[in-house]
Symmetry: C2
């Protein structure tokens, strides 16, 4: 299920191994490296371990990359580039802020599902090396961008004004990022379904507006038709 | 700011060091151990490292616990016991399911903030040892409990029926669990404020119900009073 719609730019998709040639192209090397880093920890993984996981020699890996650090950098960049690509899509830059935020959230879910091992690695980065510090800086930049969208939406009157934009942004991406913890690609749940549920919670909330004792502020009273189809 | 209200049971609070006696009581040993496990990884931490971090001798630690495994088990149990204690509070077991879910979410945020290093450790458990497998089993049990509340709320008509209960439960706890990633105890944001924003997003959603093009399913039309105080 492709994430792109007309006018949008597709993020790179290195998560797919080319069938029949496991472990022999740069994409699958990166994919397996990210997976092994996630399993054993970056520090605990040697090029030897990666060669074994790929079923190739170390020199076959060095054909693609110069060092373990470069594998880390490329994996993190892959995840970050794809996330920032979402923020530059047409639907992320034009229209009401609340709709742009919706688009960024949904697009991010797609990126997480498509680049699962890379985003997982990104989310576990703790910032010991230059490469990790740089990745954390870009993550912070992304977080600011999301908080700014919440802020803009509040100013525009489309997002409720009783939330702190930074906290709301963190919590929204708490939902998005949780996907790397529990999403299993082989269980028939599509990225779209996850994105739909997430956007529903984020923007409409789970509660069906019926009788709400103690709250008379105006959100009550739709009775029997409070949910989308 | 205590989490308990009349009739509720307080979870243990080992996160507080007794002032003047750093590193010398069982609570602070456990607190520091969890913090060091989080920083260095459980496998990468020796009893020697813990003794150094506590500023005591190894034998002083063995006065409190028999092994590193026991420290891990006690830290994870502390977090899990506190989370399950929330689910047994009066407000979690009586009343409409949607309100019980609200209470469990808010209470969980409080537990995360109060037991930050222990819950952080819990959320990073990957299940290699018996202790970790047991913790993961209890986490799954907790997840089921949350999904069951969503399901019950749907049946009762208080929670919208266009979400998958399991996915919704995962996303809700994605918000809750994200707190360990970004919450800084010293920045003046209280657990209550985080819990309020979280509950607002989870149950009301961020979007102020004004003109919503393309959605005529009934959630529109409150115009100028769509937010709480």
């Amino acid at each position: 299920m492709p994430r792109t719609s007309p006018g949008e730019t597709a993020p790179p998709r290195p998560g797919r191994r080319r069938s029949g040639r496991p472990g022999h192209d740069a994409d699958s090397v990166l994919h397996v490296a990210a997976r092994v880093f996630n399993e054993r920890g970056y520090d605990g993984t040697s090029m030897e371990d990666l060669a074994r996981a790929l079923g190739v020699t170390k020199s076959a890996i060095y054909h693609h990359v110069s060092s373990k650090t470069e594998l880390l950098r490329r994996s993190l960049d892959l995840a970050l580039d794809a996330l920032f690509a979402v923020t530059r899509e047409e639907a992320s830059v034009s229209g009401p802020a609340v709709d742009r935020l919706d688009h960024v959230l949904r697009g991010s879910v797609q990126v997480l599902v498509e680049l699962l091992p890379h985003v997982t690695l990104l989310l576990r980065v703790r910032g010991n090396t230059e490469v990790e510090k740089h990745a954390l800086e870009r993550r912070r930049e992304f977080d600011h961008l999301v908080a700014d969208l919440v802020r803009e939406g509040i100013v525009a009157g489309d997002i409720r004004d009783d939330v702190d934009p930074a906290v709301a942004g963190r919590l929204l991406f708490g939902m998005v990022n949780s996907v790397v913890e529990w999403y299993k690609p082989d269980r028939g749940l599509s990225a779209e379904e996850v994105a739909d549920t997430l956007a529903t919670i984020a923007f409409q909330g789970l509660r069906r507006p019926r009788h709400r004792p103690g709250n008379t502020a105006g959100d009550t009273g739709h009775g029997d038709h409070g949910h989308l189809g």
